[in-house]
Amino acid sequence: MWAFAQDYATAVFGDLLDPQKRVFWGYLASAWLISFLWLFVRRRAGLVRAAGEFFSAASWLTRSARADYLVFLLNGAIMMLLAPALLSQLTIAYALFQWMHGWFDGRPMLQWSPGAIAAAFTVTLFVADDLARYWVHRMLHRVPALWAFHKVHHTATSLNPLTVFRTHPMEGILFSLRGAVVQGGCVAPFIFFFGDRVELVTVLGASAFTFAFNALGSNLRHSHVALGYWRWLEFVVMSPAQHQVHHSIDARHVDRNFGATLSFWDWLFGTHCHSQTREPLVFGVRGADGPGAHRLASLYLLPFAEAFRAVASKLPGTRAGQRAVAAAE
């Protein structure tokens, strides 16, 4: 039990010290700095407001925020228990590596320079991961049974950097699977063709892209600091304010901006929306903003019932299906 408690504390609070994680203290500090500079220099806010906006009570001390913190703490334990059962990237990489011997009838090695291999691997991994994030996110919104779980994240009516952890564990499992497929799917072919010369370009142990994305204010995505980019840049990179649009309940913003780092995918697949920094946005899910929306029981259990109803409605033989058919008629 003590060992579990120690592992739990390390897993949960270790994120604050891990540069691979978005809530690493350095990234939180850089988010604050960017927020301060943007508000003070660009928006000409007063010194106190510019410095304090990132820490506003409307962002950190609401009922919604308190639910974020509880979900963060509870999920830490749940995911620790689930982790051993989840498919690992190494399992996928090994399987793919072995299959490739059959597909290529042996192992044709390629002779590239170390720099080229590292650059190619780092870029491939980043692009594949970001694309997978776009499509999984899009599915989470478009497939009713998945939306039931993803809605937990969107019922947040205030945003702060820990809202990133306001996630149903079922979604956590899906993200783990996504990560395993993408990482395993990238590692295997690179090792197959380049052997032990494959390296990731890293800064402080994190992929250079992850580092750049996080150091340049990724934590402002879940905040009330509406930092937008130039219009041309918002076609390529997702600004914090664009992600806030994604959380907006405004009908014009629903199912827009699914991208993680790149907004390019949204532009390519027709879900792009520019940031809106003039009017304040209202965050949440229309119809799911009652006081019960932030209760743990609602956040953890209701999605199962809703997902079940969504699946059952597709099955004509069930009562839910019959009700759905009758309603449609």
Binding site: A11, L17, Q98, G106, P169, V187, A188, R197, L200, A206
Partner: protein, 471 residues
């Protein structure tokens, strides 16, 4: 490729990798332990004694040398000569390896100069060897291989792909040295009633039962007595009789390398080989545990061990057994990688209609080492369960031959049966799986010739994605 020293985020603390320093200052030497036998009346002042084990190392080295000396016409004479080293105990047996090489002069020329009336066959693993066809015991496998080796040219049978020099050597190191040390001396003989510490090992002996058992296990490991003063590279080169390490080997400074105390043999050599990677420290870990255990026995002062002393001694024994098993698994891992690379070469040669004979020799040599180590792993007396089953199935009874065949069994007359139709590419995948299996089952670190090119490390560097974190 990293940029890891940004001052703004300097909170990250660099933690040591765990690979220990290679050279121990003022290191312990295994030897010169005082006599503690109660009432001992003899002349000895040093109770250390493992000459019988070193004699067996020399018998093994010599037998390996002989196994490669078949010329197609000397089978019976060669078989008899090999059996003299394996089974015989007679006097006059020359040490065929190691021998003096230039300035690297060895002190002994015959087995008897180290210890008399020793053989290998009396100390072989008695269980069934499931990795080899024919349902044989360890002793039967070795006799069978010796007979077959005598009928080859250069120790290699091209029809089966067996390199008997490697098979005999690598399997024997497990079936004799490893088995005797970990299953008998470091296990059975640590029990209170077996070879007690308050009695001499045998009547008149200057060492107690426990002291000599411990020494015998150390002897089988094969490390020089001053291994803790040597780095991995030096310990490794001593086994090669390399002139450049003469001074390091010759600890007593008499200008000769004493084969009893100053030579590296068997698994100590492979421990050093793994440690050369800089990722492991098996040689020193094992030797230090031997030295610490022996010191504990000296401190026991010829009294029966207390429960606490026995528990501590068993702790040292467990350290040795765990690391020793890893050493053998690391060696098997390495040679699985070599076989994989050989197969890759062979495929290219065969597809371009080249001459595969040289590459084939390299392939079957590495395969013999892989197979020998894989069989040796299964002689510890510890049931490896599914790991052993999968390992034996993946490697098979023989290497996949260029025509796709593989030894599948032995008939009633002792002839090999060849069947199956695996291609070389498929067998390459088997080698990947062998490495994966060994790496996971034994938690390997050195991982030489890793065909997945450090895939595990790369994946680890990418970080876990097992947290519920949204976009």
């Amino acid at each position: 490729m990293t940029f890891s020293k940004l001052p703004i985020l300097a909170l990250t603390v660099l933690v040591g990798s765990g690979a220990a320093a290679n050279v121990h200052a003022e290191a312990d030497v295994y030897g010169n332990f005082p006599v503690t036998v109660p009432g001992y009346a003899g002349d000895h002042t040093d109770s250390t004694s493992y000459a019988g084990q070193i004699a067996r190392h020399l018998l093994h080295n010599s037998l390996k040398k002989l196994a490669g000396q078949g010329d197609g016409s000397n089978a019976e004479a060669l078989r008899e000569q090999m059996m003299a080293y394996y089974d015989g105990k007679g006097p006059g047996r020359e040490i065929l390896d190691p021998r003096s090489q230039g300035a690297f002069v060895v002190a002994q020329q015959t087995i008897d100069e180290v210890s008399r009336e020793r053989n290998l066959s009396g100390s072989v693993y008695g269980g069934q060897v499931t990795g080899w066809p024919g349902n044989m015991t360890g002793d039967e496998v070795l006799r069978f291989m010796i007979d077959k080796a005598a009928h080859t040219t250069g120790g290699i049978d091209p029809l089966t792909g067996y390199n008997y020099q490697q098979l005999i050597s690598k399997f024997l190191m497990g079936a004799v040295f490893y088995n005797q040390a970990v299953d008998k001396y470091l296990d059975e003989n640590l029990s209170p009633d077996v070879k007690p510490n308050d009695k001499p090992y045998s009547e008149g002996a200057p060492y107690t039962g426990k002291e000599h058992s411990w020494d015998e296990a150390f002897g089988y490991f094969g490390a020089p007595a001053h291994a803790l003063e040597l780095d991995a590279e030096t310990a490794y080169l001593i086994a090669k009789a390399d002139e450049s390490v003469l001074a390091a080997a010759d600890r007593n400074g008499d200008g000769k390398v004493d084969l009893y105390t100053e030579m590296t043999y068997a698994h100590a050599y492979y421990a050093a080989d793994a440690d050369k990677s800089g990722k492991t420290d098996y040689l020193h870990t094992i030797t230090q545990a031997f030295v610490d255990g022996r010191k504990l026995l000296v401190e026991a002062g010829g009294e029966a061990l207390t429960d606490a002393q026995r528990a501590t001694l068993r702790g040292y024994a467990d350290t040795i057994k765990t690391a020793w098993e890893k050493v053998i698994a690391e060696a098997a891992f390495k040679y699985a990688g070599s076989v994989y690379a050989d197969l890759e070469k062979l495929k290219i040669i065969v597809e371009s209609n080249g001459d595969p004979s040289k590459a084939f020799r390299g392939y079957v040599t590495h395969w013999g080492e892989l197979k020998g180590f894989a069989m040796a792993l299964q002689t510890s007396g510890r049931d490896l369960g599914e790991t052993a089953v999968r390992l034996n199935r993946l490697i098979g009874y023989g290497p996949v031959l260029l025509g796709g065949g593989q030894v599948t069994g032995i008939d009633a007359d002792g002839n090999y049966q060849i069947g199956g139709s695996r291609d070389l590419g498929e067998y390459m995948v088997h080698m990947i799986k062998v490495q994966q299996l060994l790496g996971e089952a034994f938690d390997l670190v050195a991982r030489k010739n890793d065909v997945t090119g450090g895939m595990e490390k790369l994946v680890k560097d990418l970080g876990e994605s097992k947290s519920a974190e949204n976009d």
